[in-house]
Symmetry: C2
Subunit: 275 residues, 2 copies
């Protein structure tokens, strides 16, 4: 989006200096036909609409302070459960639910906007060749749920923003970070865009989804969206503390490319399909 | 909205303490079928989507810092003009356009979220009996434009948030303030809800719309939405400075009611019609 400048859109959040801290702000739009999987309840829709924004704030290593929710409501009867789910997610992550906007809409549309703060927000930029690449969580489970592995429905319906881990990673000195919401390869390309280096991961290092064939688990991990994990880089000598459960999946390389098992991969995963 | 607490939804913005200042945050959802009048251009749509949120920030007497825009886009070709209009409005009012979200939507839907700051934000609460009621701007022109008085199309299509005036009014010690976006009577009822007193206005004091019959002008002023003006109260001994062009239209009364020319009026103006 040339109009607003490249720097503004490279991170999960806008970063705003405020005294001796930084505010971070993010907004996410979800709507029924594209974003809410079949079988999701209205309470879970409310939860998800807040969780996706908290995930952006978590990816900066920030404390989430406030959530505003704009609700474009198709049926009045849905409002209370949606708000309950949104409030529940706010409460779970120590965030104020500070208000919003309410409108009538033919298609249910939710836009959550979040405000947080961090002394030292972690950006997407900052990776250095030689850094290791870590991931918090097991990628691909939301896609597995979509494809019928219903034991992972909760991952899909009630994404868990990694707020606690984001804060700890920021304090531990990770060099770059983002959330993974549209699949791992898409996220690696996002990091590539923000950095003058490249990223190489090994599929053999990826955490595997229990109960799935290994190859399918790896496929979901690389291309499946909807998980809301954290992807980060750190110097080999300064690993994150043990209280963060993470997996090292590769390393930052000089060559400006995204490589999987040594091969350059094309971008895959969620892409807007404009008509 | 019981779920999030009454206090949270009484003001135009959420108010968040931050060091020795207060942050204010607001979000507004607009979509094509309800909010964008016929004949509006995509650039104006972008402008309007930012202006409505800046108006909320102005109503707190705050400096607008940042705007995030979530765009649910029906046609890719509309994006650039919408963003241009949004950026233009941000630039005009000294606000950063800090990013947002982009999604495909059957119906064009824009949600702007704004962050601002004020040392002493003005709330809707704070009116005291004996205070005078002031308004910045001429209410009713957007509705007049909708009804065919096309000389006022610009008021309707490119609302002008009263950012400058809001700041000055806050510094001058107004006791309560809000923006008028859904008609004057609706706004007076909003003040009533936030205060233990009442509001009485005189139609003979209302500024009149040029080129319209007096009665029609008054009707639009009381019930017409879409103007984005400022409504405020102040002690008779401390009027706002002359650099703010305002009109005194009534006074704060002990009786908890909204009165127009002495008579209690029912709420009129924009209301959601739930199906």
């Amino acid at each position: 989006m040339q109009v607003i400048g490249r720097e503004s859109v490279l991170d999960d959040c806008a970063v705003i200096p405020c005294g001796d801290t930084f505010l971070v702000a993010s907004t996410d739009m979800l709507h029924e036909s594209t974003d809410f999987p079949e079988g999701i309840t209205d309470r879970q829709i409310g939860w998800m609409s807040v969780a996706v924004t908290l995930s952006d704030i978590a990816a900066m290593g920030a404390d989430p302070w406030d959530i505003l929710l704009a609700v474009g409501l198709d049926k009045a009867s849905r409002l209370l459960d949606i708000l309950r789910g949104a409030k529940e997610c706010c409460d779970t992550f120590g965030t104020r639910f500070s208000g919003g906007d309410l409108d009538h809409h033919r298609e249910l549309t939710l836009v959550s906007s979040g405000l947080g703060a961090a002394r030292n927000p972690v950006r997407r930029s900052g990776s250095r060749p030689g850094d290791l690449i870590g991931i918090v969580g097991i990628p691909g489970r939301a896609q597995a749920a979509l494809d019928g592995y219903h034991q992972y429905d909760k991952v899909l319906f009630e994404p868990w923003p990694r707020v606690r881990e984001g804060r700890i990673l920021a304090r531990s000195g990770v060099t770059s970070m983002m959330d993974v919401s549209d699949g791992l390869i898409v996220s690696l390309y996002d990091l590539l865009e923000a950095n003058p280096c490249g990223y190489e991961i090994e599929t053999g290092r990826l955490p595997l989804i229990g109960g799935l064939p290994v190859e399918l688990s790896r496929h979901y991990a690389l291309t499946g969206g909807g998980d809301y994990l954290l992807l980060f880089t750190f110097p080999p000598g300064s690993p994150p503390p043990d209280e963060v459960d993470f997996t090292i999946i590769g390393k930052v390389i000089l060559d400006q490319a995204v490589r999987v098992d040594g091969e350059i991969v094309e971008i895959e995963g969620y892409q807007h399909d404009w008509s």
